[in-house]
C-alpha cells in the first residue's frame, strides 16, 4: 500500500523499524503515525466499539475523532493516527475502555 512513485510528491521517511501489533512483528518507518504503518501493513481495524464490539478504523487522521484508540507500550487510549512510531513499540488492540496505572 506504500506509494513509491508520485507525480507531485516525494516522501521522506525515517529509518525502517520493527514493532509488534498484537504480538505480530511488523515493519514501519520511524516517526510516521502508528496508524499509517498499520495501514501500510494491511491492518485497518484498530479498535472496537464498547457496547456492540463493532470494528473501527480511523476516520479523521488528525487526532480529533477517537476512532483509533489503542494500547501502546501498555498505555491505553493512545490516538495512533498521530502517535509517532518508534522502534520496538508494542501496539495492542485495546480491550474495553482501558485503565490508567
Amino acid at each position: 500500500m506504500r506509494i513509491t512513485d508520485h507525480p507531485i510528491l516525494q516522501f521522506e521517511k525515517g529509518p525502517k523499524v520493527t514493532f509488534t501489533f498484537d504480538g505480530q512483528q511488523l515493519e514501519g518507518y520511524e516517526g510516521e503515525p502508528i496508524a499509517a504503518a498499520l495501514h501500510a501493513a494491511g491492518i485497518r481495524t484498530l479498535s472496537h466499539s464498547h457496547v456492540k464490539k463493532r470494528p473501527r478504523g480511523f476516520f479523521c487522521a488528525i487526532g480529533a475523532c477517537s476512532s483509533c484508540l489503542m494500547t501502546v507500550d501498555g498505555v491505553p487510549n493512545v490516538r495512533v493516527c498521530v502517535e509517532k512510531l518508534r522502534a520496538g513499540m508494542r501496539v495492542e488492540t485495546q480491550q474495553g475502555k482501558g485503565v490508567l496505572r
Partner: protein, 364 residues
C-alpha cells in the same frame, strides 16, 4: 506563565498569516499549534491553488505551507510552540495549553483563534466500518505519509474537496469507482469536475450512498438516486465493489474553544455550522478574542489567508500598534476578501456573513 501581546491559536494558513501581520506591526506574538508541523491542512494539498497572486495562486498547497512557515519563522518577534493543544481560554485572558505532557499558561492581551474545521460524518448503515474515511484522513494518509487508503474508492460528495481528493487518489495510483453527490448539481468548481471526468471517473448527481457492505471492513457500497424532494428512489440501486468509502460531505468549524470562552455564537449553515458573531474586523463579542479562517466560516484557503491577515492587523491595531500604513493594509485586506467573495461561488459566504457581522448584540 508566558506573557505575550498576541496569542495565535492554530498554525494553518489563517494563523500563520495572522501571526506575521501582527508581528510586522511590532507585536510580540506567540503561535501555538497542536501538531508537529506548521501549515495546517495545506501540507496535504497537492493541487495548485486558485485565487490571486497575493494568495499564491498557481502554487501548490504544499509549497504555500512552506512559504507561510518561512515568513513566520523569519519574524523575530514570533515565538512558535508546536505540539501545544490549547485547552481553554479564561476571563482574565489566560489560556491553558497542554505541551508534551505538561500544562502551560499563557497570558495574552489579544487571542486570535484560527483552529480550522473538522470533517463531517454522514448517516448510513455500516458507516462505522473500517474503510469509511474522511476525505482529510485520506489526504493525510496518502499525501503526507505515502500510504494508499485502499485499492478502489467510492467518493461521497462533489464539492471541491470531493473532486480534488478524487484527483489526488488518481495521482496516488488508486482507482475511483465513482463520485456521488446528493444535490442535483456539482458543488465544486467545474474545472475540477472536468478534470476527473476526462480521467474517466463518473459523477452521479442526485444520488447518495444507501449503505456500506462488509463484516470486518468495507467491501462494497450501494448508492441510489434521489428524487426532486431528495427522497431515495427504490429500484435505482447500483453496487460498487470498493474497499474505501471517502466522505467529502463538508466541514464544520471547530468552535469548541470559542464556546468555552463564552463568545456569542450563532448557527449559520452557509458558514458550515456554529461560528462566533464578530465585527468586520473579525473581533468577537469578547474584545480580546478574534477569529480567522475556517473556524470563522468554512471557505477556501485563499480567503483564510486574507482573514488571518485582517485579524492579525486588527488585533495589533487595537493594541495601539501600527499607524496609517497599517490602516491601509487593513483596507487592502478587506478589499481582497470582498473581491474573492464577489462572484457566484461566494454567494453563500456573503449570505452567511450577513448573519454574523450584524454586530454583537446585548443578549450574548
Amino acid at each position: 506563565m508566558i506573557n505575550t501581546q498576541i496569542a495565535v491559536i492554530g498554525g494553518g494558513p489563517a494563523g500563520l498569516r495572522a501571526a506575521v501581520a501582527a508581528a510586522q506591526l511590532g507585536a510580540q506574538v506567540l503561535l501555538l499549534d497542536e501538531s508537529d508541523h506548521l501549515g495546517g491542512q495545506l501540507i496535504k494539498q497537492t493541487h495548485k491553488f486558485f485565487g490571486s497572486q497575493q494568495q499564491f495562486a498557481g502554487s501548490r498547497g504544499i509549497a504555500i505551507a512552506k512559504k507561510l512557515e518561512a515568513a513566520a519563522r523569519s519574524q523575530e518577534n514570533i515565538a512558535i510552540l508546536q505540539e501545544a493543544t490549547v485547552l481553554g481560554i479564561y476571563e482574565d485572558g489566560v489560556l491553558l495549553a497542554e505541551h508534551k505532557g505538561r500544562v502551560i499558561k499563557v497570558r495574552a492581551q489579544r487571542i486570535i483563534v484560527a483552529v480550522g474545521a473538522c470533517e463531517r460524518m454522514l448517516a448510513f448503515p455500516n458507516n462505522d466500518l473500517p474503510g469509511v474515511y474522511g476525505a482529510g484522513a485520506v489526504q493525510t494518509l496518502m499525501n503526507v505519509h505515502g500510504v494508499r487508503p485502499g485499492r478502489r474508492v467510492l467518493m461521497v460528495g462533489a464539492g471541491n474537496i470531493g473532486l480534488i481528493v478524487t484527483y489526488q487518489l488518481l495521482q496516488a495510483g488508486v482507482e475511483v469507482a465513482a463520485i456521488v453527490e446528493a444535490a442535483p448539481t456539482i458543488g465544486g468548481y467545474l474545472v475540477h469536475a472536468a478534470k476527473v471526468r476526462r480521467a474517466g471517473v463518473p459523477i452521479y448527481t442526485s444520488h447518495t450512498i444507501k449503505e456500506a457492505h462488509g463484516e470486518e471492513a468495507v467491501e462494497g457500497a450501494t448508492i441510489w438516486q434521489l428524487d426532486a424532494n431528495r427522497q431515495p428512489v427504490a429500484g435505482t440501486e447500483r453496487h460498487f465493489a470498493v474497499d474505501v468509502i471517502c466522505l467529502a460531505v463538508g466541514l464544520s468549524p471547530l468552535s469548541d474553544l470559542l464556546w468555552q470562552a463564552g463568545c456569542q455564537m450563532k448557527y449559520v449553515p452557509e458558514l458550515g455550522g456554529t461560528v462566533a458573531v464578530r465585527d468586520a474586523h473579525l473581533c468577537t463579542s469578547n474584545p480580546r478574542i478574534y477569529v480567522a479562517g475556517d473556524v470563522a466560516g468554512v471557505e477556501e484557503a485563499s480567503s483564510a489567508m486574507v482573514e488571518g491577515q485582517l485579524a492579525g492587523l486588527s488585533a495589533a491595531l487595537s493594541l495601539g500598534l501600527g499607524g496609517k500604513e497599517a490602516q491601509e493594509q487593513l483596507a487592502e485586506a478587506k478589499a481582497q476578501l470582498s473581491a474573492l467573495r464577489a462572484g457566484p461561488v461566494g454567494e453563500k459566504i456573503r449570505a452567511g456573513l450577513a448573519w454574523v457581522e450584524k454586530g454583537v448584540t446585548a443578549d450574548a
